[in-house]
Structure formats: structure tokens, C-alpha cells
Symmetry: C2
Subunit: 303 residues, 2 copies
């Protein structure tokens, strides 16, 4: 792990943020991303970009951050207690896109690089990331495209990668108190260093680069589908699950809040408008019931 | 701690739920509370009551629950590690009222009784509870009435009670990641047993019984004030803070979710409609700015 390795990852991440914002703004066609640069008093900072009230995107946030600190936060050492007390450096791009149209799924992507250091010891580093899709009114075609793109991105790195990270994604994006997955999944990986730096970095790039290929065709296919108020209401209701997951379970959110990250950038992921309704249940044999019965059941979407 | 003590607390709590629902339904005038009784597979159950789309109350939930289990949950032993491994029994009434009109504050109240038992040892028991007020457009008169009522309820139990539990409330209902209190506070107490059973129980009753006296006059004064869409939007935006507090910090919510409580009853506290807006700030010298500058600054409201 050299300084030039870190620089290479950082340059990639900044460029990835640029590219994703360009592509998504072009898809939206009406609004563009507005940028806020910020400094973290304890070290580091970030570049937040938000698009709001677009033609397609109701709220989308694409955040780059690079933070460092003298002591690993609890959320990062919970499953790696041997790293407690090390200094850390974390950089990543994280994004969530909430579309207007309930026929367009919400998507989330993240790629990150983490280094834990201690004087007199080798640095410990790893990559993490992935992307997952959260439909309101699902389509098998979309789910297959999403997972096929993820699988193709993983393929050059070995046949085990897609099934392993697909399963991890299903396990991670799961609301225990609802006994419900957040969506139809995708990829989730963490602690990746066993391929060595070059290949691990290449894998993270393959994931980062394939996100727009996975998402944009779905957006293009669904963005002009007509919808009514009941469908909009269902979307707002289901967005509540997104809030519940992010605030109760999401490690990245907890990491950000615990490390004194910039709250507005961390909570950029929350939807613009959300409903909660006591004990709501879908009527049998409706498209809403189909979300629960078909799409929110983990399954093999890739071919 | 005898079986008849437990029965007395339970009878009080069930009656309190009845009385509060009657009073609030009368204030609303249009809708009534709908009841769901539920069983918890691991032991116990509850009686949830929800009023939705009322004339005054947009969503209000008043929940009674009585649960027991063979091992204390982590959220309850975090600050009392000596109780880990004991069986537990918990009963309480918890409520949150979200009004339609942004001039009417949201209110929350809770009273609870907890018993931790182990064979061959004395049972450990305590009472807890309190109530707190969350205005959108505050009024000094309302804050004074709320806190004066709380202070009067505490007075028979000693002069130290109100200041101590008022301060605890300010400390508890605090969003660290926003550096912001949830509202204008009220009372919060926990671990109360030092008065002995009879007086501790009496204190909990004084708190429970005074909630409607504290809240209803405020609702009556404000419920017909006209408001516009911008004020409604501000209310929906501020409701986001309520969600953030309840899902990230609230011990009662975590306790419920960790003990396999009924999710719909626990999350009944979440507002019916909520907005998040990236990096929103109030304009200077507006009623919205006054919420932050005046009402969300802990202060001595009681006379």
C-alpha cells in the first residue's frame, strides 16, 4: 500500500462521481447536480452532489468523501476488533437515486476503500461496495438486466464472485423487524483484499463502472410509464422501508454519523417524501401484492 | 413486589389508555381510535389503538403492551449490566400524536413498569416514563403551560423531581448528529424505585394522568389556526427529525425491535407523511428560524 496506490483510488473515485453525474443528468434532461464541497473538522472532507425535482429524478445524491481519523470508529471495528485503536482513512463514492415515477426503481451504489494504519505495522486495507435495486412495481426483465450486468462485471474475477456477493447483498439489505429484503438485491462486497491490491482495485472499478449500465436502461424503459395517485402513494409508503433500513441498519450511515461525518451528505440518501401507514397490507392479486410475493423473495435473477 | 402490585399497575395502564383515547377522540371530533389486540409469540402482547385522518389528528397511536421474556434484551442492560441474563416483564402505555395543523405541536408520552427477576434473588423493578412536546411553530404560552403542568404533577413528590426529570428529558430527546433537541422537552424519568413501590407507582400515575391536561389545552388553542402550504411543508420537513430520533436513538423503539415486539405497534410513532430536503436552512427572521433559535434552545419554561 503506497501513497501512489491511494492517489490512484482517489483519482478513480472522483472521476467516477463525475461520470455518473453526467450520465444521470443527461437521463434526467431537466435538472443538473448541484455541488457542495465540505471539510470535516477532524480530517478530510467531501464533494456532495444533489439533483432535486428533475423530470425523472425526484432526488438523487452522488457523494464523494475522503475522511481520516486517529482512531477507528466502532461501526468499523465491530467485526474486526483487532483493528481497534488504529488510525483510519476511508474514501468512497456513495449514491442513491429516488425517481419520481413509481415504475422506476430506486437504486443505490457505493464503492469504497479503507486503510487502517498503526506505526510499526503493515497497513491493513480493503475495498468494499456494490449496488442494489429497490423496485415499487417490479419487472422481471429489469431484475434480470440488473443482475446480468452485475454478473458480467464480476465474471473476469472468477466464477465465485457474483454468487457470493449477490448472496451477501441479499443478507445485508434485509429489514429484520419486517422480515423483508429492501429490494431485489445486486452486489455487496466488503473486506476485499485477498486478490492483492491491483486486482482488488480492478474489481471495485468493475463494480463502479457497471452501475450506470445496470441502471440507466431500466430508467429509460420505465420513466414515461403512466401512473396514478394510488401507485404514487404505494411508492411513498414503500420508501418508508428505505428510511427504516438506512437509519436502523445501514453500516455506512452509522459509520458516517459516528465519525462526525457531514449529516446532510450522509442523510442525502433519504427519500424526498415518505408515508407511513399503520398496518397497511396489499390487497391479494394486485401489483402491490406481487412486489411482496415475487420481487421481495430472494431468487436467481441472473442467467 | 407482589403479584397484586403488578396487577395494580396493569389495571392502571389499561385504564389510562382508555381515558387518553376517550379524551383525544373527543378533541378530534371526527374519527375514533381503532383497536388491534396482538400476541407476542415469545410471551405477552398488547392493545394498539390508532386514529387516522381525523379532523385534528392526522395520525395518533396509543399503545398498551405487556411483554415478558426469559432474558433481558441488550437495550435494557446496556446501562445495567448486572441484570444481564435475568428474565423480564415490561408493561407500559406509549403514545405519539401527529396533528394535521402545523400550529399544533406533536406530543409523545410514555409510562412503563419493568421487572427483572432471577430465581433465589429479590426482583429488581423500576418505573419510567415522561412526556415531551415537539412544536413546529412554537408559542411561549404553550411551552409554559406544558412545563407548568409537568411541574405541578411532580410537586407532591419533592422539589427536586421536576428540575431533574426536565433536564433528563432535554438530554434524552437530543439528536446528536444534528446537535438539536427534538422539541421543547418535558419530563423523562427512568430507573425509579428509590421512593418505594407505592410512591414510585404514584409518581408514574401523576405523570400519566397529567398528560392530557398538559396537551389538550394547547391543541384546543391552535387547532383552528389557518396555515398555508409553506407551513405544512415545514411541518413535514421537521417531522423528518422525529423519524431520525426514533429510529436512530430511541431506547423504547430499539427495545421493541430487539425483543421481537410487534413492528406495526412500535413504528406507529412514525409520522404519516414526511419530507427530507437536502441542506435546508430557514431564512433569517422567519417563524421557521425562530423554532431553531428560540424553541429548540433548552430553557426554563416553568414558572
Amino acid at each position: 500500500m503506497t501513497a501512489s496506490n491511494k492517489q490512484a483510488v482517489k483519482a478513480y473515485l472522483l472521476n467516477l462521481q463525475d461520470k455518473i453525474c453526467q450520465v444521470l443528468a443527461a437521463v434526467d434532461g431537466k435538472e443538473t447536480f448541484v455541488e457542495d464541497s465540505w471539510q470535516r473538522p477532524e480530517g478530510g472532507g467531501g464533494r456532495s452532489r444533489v439533483l432535486t425535482n428533475g423530470a425523472v429524478i425526484e432526488k438523487g445524491g452522488v457523494n464523494f468523501s475522503h475522511v481520516h481519523g486517529s482512531s477507528m470508529p466502532a461501526s468499523a471495528t465491530a467485526h474486526r476488533p483487532e483493528l481497534a485503536g488504529r488510525s483510519f482513512e476511508a474514501m468512497g463514492v456513495s449514491l442513491v437515486i429516488h425517481p419520481n415515477n413509481p415504475h422506476v426503481p430506486t437504486s443505490h451504489a457505493n464503492v469504497r476503500f479503507f486503510i487502517a494504519e498503526k506505526e510499526g505495522a503493515e497497513p491493513v486495507w480493503w475495498f468494499g461496495g456494490g449496488y442494489d435495486l429497490t423496485p415499487y412495481y417490479g419487472n422481471d426483465e429489469d431484475c434480470r438486466h440488473w443482475h446480468n450486468t452485475a454478473k458480467a462485471a464480476c465474471a473476469p474475477f472468477g466464477e465465485d464472485k457474483y454468487p457470493r456477493y449477490k448472496k451477501w447483498c441479499d443478507e445485508y439489505f434485509y429489514l429484520k423487524h419486517r422480515d423483508e429484503p429492501r429490494g431485489v438485491g445486486g452486489l455487496f462486497f466488503d473486506d476485499l483484499n485477498e486478490l492483492g491490491f491491483d486486482q482488488s482495485f480492478a474489481f471495485m472499478q468493475a463494480v463502479g463502472d457497471s452501475y450506470t449500465q445496470a441502471y440507466v436502461p431500466i430508467v429509460e424503459r420505465r420513466k414515461d410509464e403512466p401512473y396514478n395517485q394510488a401507485q404514487r402513494d404505494f411508492q411513498l409508503y414503500r420508501r418508508g422501508r428505505y428510511v427504516e433500513f438506512n437509519l436502523v441498519y445501514d453500516r455506512g450511515t452509522l459509520f458516517g454519523l459516528q465519525t462526525g461525518g457531514r449529516t446532510e451528505s450522509i442523510l442525502m440518501s433519504l427519500p424526498p417524501l415518505v408515508r407511513w401507514e399503520y398496518d397497511w397490507q396489499p390487497q391479494p392479486n394486485t401489483p402491490e401484492a406481487r412486489l411482496y410475493e415475487h420481487y421481495l423473495q430472494p431468487q436467481d435473477w441472473a442467467e
